[in-house]
Amino acid sequence: MQIVASMRPGDAAVHAPRGSIQIENVNKTYRENAASLVVALEGINLDLPANSFVSLLGPSGCGKSTLLKLIAGIEKPSSGVVRCTEVVDRVNTGVAYVPQGRGLFPWMTLLANVEFPLKIAGVAPAERRRRALEWIAKVNLSGFEQNFPRQLSGGMEKRGSLARALVTDKPILLMDEPFGPLDAHTRLSLQQQLTQLWEDVKNTVVFVTHDVIEAIALSDIIIVMSPRPGRIADVVKVALPRPRNVLSVPDCDGFVELHAHLQRLLFGEHAL
């Protein structure tokens, strides 16, 4: 892998810090069938510092999930390079990934699900039991350890997949619309929990959302994307003071301008 990296001229980022993500000139084209191609991502360049909370904000179909899959190494870029300390050229075991669809493995209990990544990593049974129970408690699911996912509500299952993603403390956490299908109440409480958990752990988070206020409340950096083909419209730094949450953030100085800017990027001038 070193060889691949050093063949690239002018490459200073080979020893980038753990948790940082570099995306250089990435294009991603899907082949729908023999005749037609879909350009999902075009000319993506990003340099995400370690330990930052990054949101991907954009309309449906602009390539947010695709970008996460490239970072996770489960899709390959058509051209360009994705680097997480090292070049990502296979499945990236340095990340935890909460996909957009179903969360937990339906055939395992909640406990078995949260223990699973530790079991794969070879952690001793007693230790992995202890850590899994600790995270199940942190996401307020104590008492449901022996439930199968079908016996959990949608919000509980999402919290379970959050616990499973965080239990391994990977340097990078990828979350694809983790709160998308939830009701306002559950969503709010999960946003709070995620903020609190993240302030303890401080790994790099890449978080996909459609929700502008959610993005402002949670993020250090908001990447706004535009569709067809998926491009980066703007990279916005959020300097509002922490701790903040979805309810308090509209009162911060600078929120209104930031919100208006993001709305304009997403919906054009006529949105306001």
């Binding site: 996770a72 996909p99 990544p117 794969i120």
Partner: protein
């Protein structure tokens, strides 16, 4: 509801049907053509005491079990591999379709000529029926696996064996059990076809002899033992299935009406 009620509920239809049959045979129609439950029962007891029928039952049992296990393993294995090899599958699938469409009754005599009159030919016929059922069950199961589950496990660092053991097999377990359950009845049919065509032993052979001798009770005794065998096999698999598939959502909205 006390514990006895469900048992009564379960047995009631059987009691009604057998009772009606018995009464019909006494007063309405000729028991020589359709049999009479009381006579069938005493003939069954007599045959079981006499003992020779146990040997026939054992032979049919082994034909079914061997063919079932070998057919399920081979069909499942081919379905598994092709499910993960779409390009190979595109080449092989039409051939499997053609072979599965061949009526097994039509080629059973050829199998018997090739493999002889003994148990091998019956096992082969059973395999030829079970193989395709299990192939399609496992093949479609593998193709339906949600890729996210496999990706998740690989991101967590799972190697190939771990992905197969912890993700793929559990994910297709419902398909495997469906295939195993439908295969039972076809395995039994396969063994009986073989024995009807040419055999020197087995329950099919027993039934054929009974019907040749116009022994209606004998036919029914053979049928009862076959049904009992199917019942035991299906119940066993059902018990294992309920234990293994505890994670599945309760199935069928039918109980709540449409």
């Amino acid at each position: 509801m006390n514990r006895v009620t469900p048992i009564i509920q379960a047995l009631l239809p059987a009691v009604v049907i057998i009772g009606a049959w018995e009464l019909g045979a006494m007063f309405a129609f000729d028991p020589r053509f359709v049999g009479q439950p009381s006579q069938i029962l005493s003939y069954l007891v007599a045959e079981l005491r006499r003992g020779a029928i146990w040997a026939d039952a054992a032979i049919t049992f082994w034909e079914i079990m061997l063919g079932y296990v070998l057919g399920a393993l081979s069909g499942g294995a081919v379905g598994f591999v092709l499910g993960f090899r779409p390009r190979l599958a595109r080449i092989v699938e039409p051939y499997i379709l053609i072979f599965s469409a061949i009526p097994k009754i039509a080629i059973a005599p050829i199998i018997i000529i090739a493999l002889g009159i003994g148990i091998q030919s019956k096992v082969a016929i059973v395999i030829s029926m079970v193989f395709f059922l299990m192939f399609y069950a496992v093949y479609s199961g593998v193709k339906q696996i949600e890729p996210d589950f496999i990706h998740q496990a690989r991101i967590m660092g799972a190697n190939r064996a771990e992905v197969i053991g912890y993700i793929v097999i559990p994910a297709i377990a419902p398909n495997i059990f469906d295939g195993l359950k439908t295969s039972i009845i076809f395995a039994v049919i396969g063994a009986l076809i073989g024995e009807f065509i040419a055999a020197r032993a087995g329950l099919g052979y027993y039934i054929l002899n009974a019907s040749g001798a116009f022994n209606i009770n004998g036919i029914w005794v053979g049928v009862i033992l076959i049904v009992a065998l199917v019942f035991v096999l299906t119940t066993t698999i059902g018990i294992v299935e309920r234990r293994v598939l505890r994670w599945l959502p309760e199935m069928g909205a039918g109980g709540n009406g449409i």
